[in-house]
């Protein structure tokens, strides 16, 4: 361990402490070759990342994760974008949302009773809310736990005549219970809304959220922390890239230089190990998964005798856009 690393506080990765989100996060990191190692038993709230000894995992609740990132007590966090946007109105000033992780999808939506057959859009809602207030002298009530997201979205659609009723559970039941007229809540399939005789407004999707890798700008970013960040981001990028790509190999007659260029133009394919093509006619290309078969056919047409397509484990690049995005925000090491 270098002296600098010795003096630095550990790199903290904040991860969800329970439920599907934790499982998915663990699976995501495992795919990148970084396994969550939980301490003694499932109830331990500290863990480690197998393969990166300098990294500590803090298992926290969703709202704690956002809080720790904003405060700088965690370097990275895995958290739904809905939580980030709700808890931190100036999220983009304090945090860097590095990458959506492809799980934990949910939409934060505005939903009204299905009986409101005259209400389809936010502009209908604006009209109805103002009539409601004019007629009853009271504002329409919106049940939600997304107070900030609701306020911002309603303001954008100039809906002013409403009141928020904070709801911490079973929000979708509020209209039927007479506690609110409409709701703002998360939905994945819409089944819960339908079961409660609610419908999403046509333009009422406030946020399409998914689990996101978020970096704190306030955390202590010493050389060791940056090194750990780079290591994590390299592996994530490498496995993501590998998952989405295929390697296509063939031998052709003659110089492969021209052919490589055409393959790049036609299939967005890149040489597997950089940019020096083999004068012997051997090509190994990486391309998107769904283009691999087309690329293979094309290579056959170009004179290859046999083309092999292989799945990849990890693809590391010298340039890592995720790390570059982070570096841009916190300055180089």
């Amino acid at each position: 361990m270098t002296p600098a690393a010795f003096n630095e506080p550990p790199f903290v990765l904040a991860a969800p402490s329970k439920g599907r989100l934790q499982e998915s996060a663990a699976a995501f990191f495992a795919r990148a070759g970084l396994e969550f190692v939980q301490g003694r038993g499932a109830r331990d709230y500290r863990g480690a990342l197998n393969g990166l000894p300098g990294v500590e995992i803090a298992f926290l609740s969703a709202s704690e994760i956002v809080g720790q990132l904003v405060a700088g007590a965690a370097h990275f966090g895995v958290i739904g974008e809905d939580q980030v946007r709700e808890k931190t109105p100036d999220a983009d000033m304090r945090l860097e949302l590095l990458a959506p992780l492809g799980f934990g999808h949910c939409n934060v939506v505005v939903a009204a009773p299905r009986a409101w057959i005259d209400v389809r859009t936010m502009s209908d809602l604006e009209d109805v809310a103002s009539a409601f207030r004019a007629r009853r002298g009271e504002r329409m009530r919106v049940a939600t736990k997304y107070v900030n997201l609701t306020r911002r979205f309603f303001a954008e659609h100039s809906v002013a005549d409403y009141r928020i009723v904070e709801s911490l559970g079973a929000t979708e039941g509020a209209p039927a219970a007479g506690a609110a007229e409409l709701i703002v809540d998360i939905t994945t399939t819409g089944a819960t809304l339908a079961a409660n005789a609610l419908k999403t407004l046509d333009d009422g999707v406030i946020l399409r959220s998914q689990a996101t890798l978020v970096a704190s700008l306030a955390a202590p970013w010493g050389p060791a922390a940056l090194k750990n960040a780079r290591a994590i981001l390299d592996r994530i990028a490498a496995s993501e890239k590998a998952r989405k790509s295929r390697e296509v190999r063939a031998r052709l007659n003659g110089d492969a230089r021209k052919l490589t260029e055409r393959a790049r133009a036609l299939f967005d394919a890149a040489p597997a190990t950089g940019d020096a093509p083999d004068p012997q006619g051997y090509v190994a290309l990486h391309c998107a998964r769904d283009k691999a078969a087309d690329l293979a056919s094309w290579l056959l047409a170009e004179g290859a005798e046999r083309v092999s397509v292989a799945a990849l484990e990890q693809v590391f690049d010298a340039r890592n856009p995720l790390y570059e995005a982070l570096e841009k925000r916190i300055g180089p090491a």
Binding site: P89, A112, P113, R114, A115, W116, I117, D118, R120, T121, S123, D124, E126, D127, V128, S130, A131, F132, R133, A134, R135, G137, E138, R139, M140, R141, V147, N148, T150, R151, F154, A155, S158, A160, D161, Y162, R163, I164, P175, A176, G178, A180, E181, L182, A197
Partner: protein, 376 residues
Amino acid sequence: MDARWLEPDAEAARSAGERALEHFLAAGFARIEPAVLHPAAIFLDMSGEAIRGRLFLTSGASGEELCLRPEYTIPVCRAYLASPEAGRVAQYSYLGPVFRAHVEGGERAQTGLESFGRRDAEAADAEVFALAMEAGAQAGAPLKARLGDAALFEGVLESLALPEVWRRRLRRGVAHGKSLLAILDGRGASVLAQPGVLAAMESADHAGARALVEDLLAIAGVDAVGGRTASEIADRFLEQAALRSGEPVAAEKRQALDAFLAVSGDPDEAAAKLRRLADDARLDLNRALDAFELRNGFIAARGVRIEEARFSAAFVRDFEYYTGFVFEAADPAIPDAKPVLSGGRYDGLMRRLGAQGDIRAVGAAIALDRLPGKTS
């Protein structure tokens, strides 16, 4: 005492506030010290969720949501309604901090006055406005005032006999500073995309429309949960059907509105313009105009140079709150300066705060940190 009072700016603001208060006391406005903590719902109901982010929120022992007062008018009204004076004529002044989360330090010194229960509304308007302007002038450079009158605007809407849906939209649109064109032609966005239903509604009366809505809900197997009745939904379909068929607001009414909203300038000249306009468009604005001129007369009689104020027919504020005279005044030396003082008549507020009947009310508030000439 708060240490920030010792800073030069705060010190100047404090002495300006004390001089203003003395001025109000001398005019018979008794000082009142309303509570600091209030149910947050009152302010949110009145001003909307948009102000939630500006409130210092906390909760009471039984979990109710409370906030530090973000302004004085509602706290003064509540203290008055809870007092034996409720319903009688009473005039109050105040000086102290209001609490706003977006202001540096979280608080801002304010002084002001409120007049309740007076039947001579125009005289009360003039007195409150004049006292506030005088207090502002005492503190530094003279302020330039902008005047408006929600009652005039309501009078125009009423004598044009516009359907309620358009009155509502015009009130809101004008209060948000939208142009007439944007308000009247912005309808495309909210006309319903169910032409079949709307066509069926065009020839329907309320009972027919309601029956149709109920049938539609029954066919769809939807229980009518959720705050609005089938009758309300039917009314909106009827409104929309009316909007869909033909010009929403007849051309001559549109012209009259346009001409009315364009009136601005010297209040006395504006009154003359408005009389001519009312004659030309055959609008019955006599009551509102009489009150307007009477008030202008009272203001001038108080020694405020009314010709230096600028009336603007389009200057209206939240109609849910202000019901008549509205005003604000800013430092003319600073372009686009925020108003130093503002106020108006709010006859509907007391009932919404729990009073049995309407109690007339007019008031003004001065933001002491915005007074000109308080620095150096």
